[in-house]
Each structure stands twice: as C-alpha cells, then as structure tokens.
C-alpha cells in the first residue's frame, strides 16, 4: 500500500501521525541521499552523521510546515543534504582542522564481499578508489552533476533546479565531466578490470 503512494501522500499521512510513512520515505530515498553525501565526505562516521541529520532536518521542516509540495520532494531533500555539507566544510575551514582529503576511510559496501575472494576484493577496492579519485578531481560544478545524476539518480530537470542552472547547462556540465573523466582514465590507464 505505502509503496504505491507518492512522496507527498506519504508526507501528508506522516504529518497526520502515521509514523511508518516517513520510514517508507527513508527506504525509498536513502541510497540517493547517502551516495550524494558519501561522495563528498570521505570520513565514514561523519557521512553517516550527515545522512541522519538530513532526514531529521527534513522531519523538522515538514512538521513546522516548511515543505510545500511541488512534486520535487527528493530535490528538496538533496538541497538540505547539500546545505549540511556546505555547513560542515565552513566549520572545518573556520576551525582550520584537517581537510576532507586527509581522510582515507573506505565508504563502500560492496555487494556480497564475503563471497568474493581476496584478490577480487582487492581489485574491486582499487577500482573503487580510482573512480573516487576521478570524481574528486573534477571541477566542482561538473562533479556535482555526476554525483546527482549517476549516483543519486536525479533527472536533469531536478539537477537544474537544485543547482540553479538551466537544463542545458547541467547537460553540458555532465558532458564535460564525462570527457574529463575519459581523459583521466586514459592518462592514468584506469580500466574496467573487474566484473
């Protein structure tokens, strides 16, 4: 039943007191939000905190009537996540502590890792590390589009809304990002060696 409800219907029911409707929203969108945050924040514990904070902030905003549906719930959630990431980097800058680049923790849950042998696991980890590096070396505006489109699954229309640019600009940034990544792949001889 809940699975067939729209995001807005779930929010409406949640505001009326149906707790489980928000849990459905979390299940529905958790991967998009987590992917976005974890590709910006390398520290796993911090990424997990921001992931939770995003949804808790969504609840506060929904309950205080700050969400007006225009069919863009996930775009709105991603904007909240984006603002929390920005706030984090501002705080780090003010405190003049270690930069994000200094963290080297592994964030990725590979599927059925337990079943894979050690060598496959190591190759896979290396490829994931390389991909992460490729993405991190893109200019900020291009990186954002790649993460939002490829890892968070937003449409270009939603990306254009979040990033305050036209759809054509978002598409253009994606194209440049892909060109740049291919170039880096060739330069660094990164290829798909694991399937």
């Amino acid at each position: 039943m809940k699975k067939s409800m729209s995001d807005y219907e779930l929010i409406e029911e949640f505001v009326k007191g149906e707790q489980s409707c928000f849990e459905e929203l979390i299940r529905r969108h958790k991967s998009k939000v987590f992917a976005y945050i974890s590709l910006y924040i390398r520290d796993q514990a911090l990424a997990e905190d921001l992931f939770q904070d995003t949804f808790l902030k969504v609840i506060q905003s929904v309950k205080s009537g700050k969400y007006y549906d225009n069919g863009k719930f996930i775009s709105w959630v991603m904007r909240i996540a984006h603002n929390l990431i920005i706030d984090h980097f501002r705080r780090v800058k003010q405190l003049n502590t270690v930069s994000n680049d200094d963290y080297e923790s592994d964030l990725f849950n590979s599927k059925k890792l337990a079943e894979a042998n050690v060598e496959d696991h190591m190759i896979k980890r290396q490829i994931q590390k390389d991909i992460r590096k490729l993405i991190s070396q893109l200019p900020e505006d291009q990186r954002e589009v790649v993460i939002l489109r490829h890892y968070s699954g937003l449409s270009f229309k939603e990306i254009a809304d979040i990033t305050d640019v036209s759809i054509n600009t978002a598409l253009g940034r994606m194209r440049y990002a892909l060109i740049n990544m291919r170039k880096m792949m060739e330069e660094k001889k990164i290829s798909l060696t694991f399937n």
Binding site: K30, I131, K157, I167, M185
Partner: protein, 62 residues
C-alpha cells in the same frame, strides 16, 4: 503484408522508466558508455544498521 510487417507498438508500451529524456536526447550513454560502465563499479549504499539507527531516532522524535 501482415506476416512481414513490424509489430505495432503503442505509445504506452514504450519503456521509458528510468529514462531521462534530456539525457537520452543528448546521447550521453551511447557516447560515454565506457565511462558509465566504470562509474557503475562504485555503489555507495548505506549500511543496514545505519538505516535502522535512523529509523529508531525518527521514532524517538515522535
């Protein structure tokens, strides 16, 4: 004619789930299939315990 003609496909039968029409029009997947294939090797997903912890916190808030 009926035996060799292309079966008629109605508008509703065209599979458009998960297709972004702008992206499709730009032909990004066709042009950069190798890059997308590489990107697909990375799948950041939240751990089950993290989702569980979040749902517990949400329940406590209410």
């Amino acid at each position: 004619m009926a035996k060799n003609s292309t079966p008629f496909l109605s508008y509703h039968e065209i599979q458009v789930d998960d297709v972004d029409i702008y992206e499709d029009a730009f032909g990004l997947y066709q042009e950069f299939g190798d890059v997308f294939k590489l990107l697909e090797q990375l799948k950041p997903v939240p751990k089950k315990r993290l989702t569980k912890r979040l749902i517990e916190r949400v329940r406590q808030m209410n």
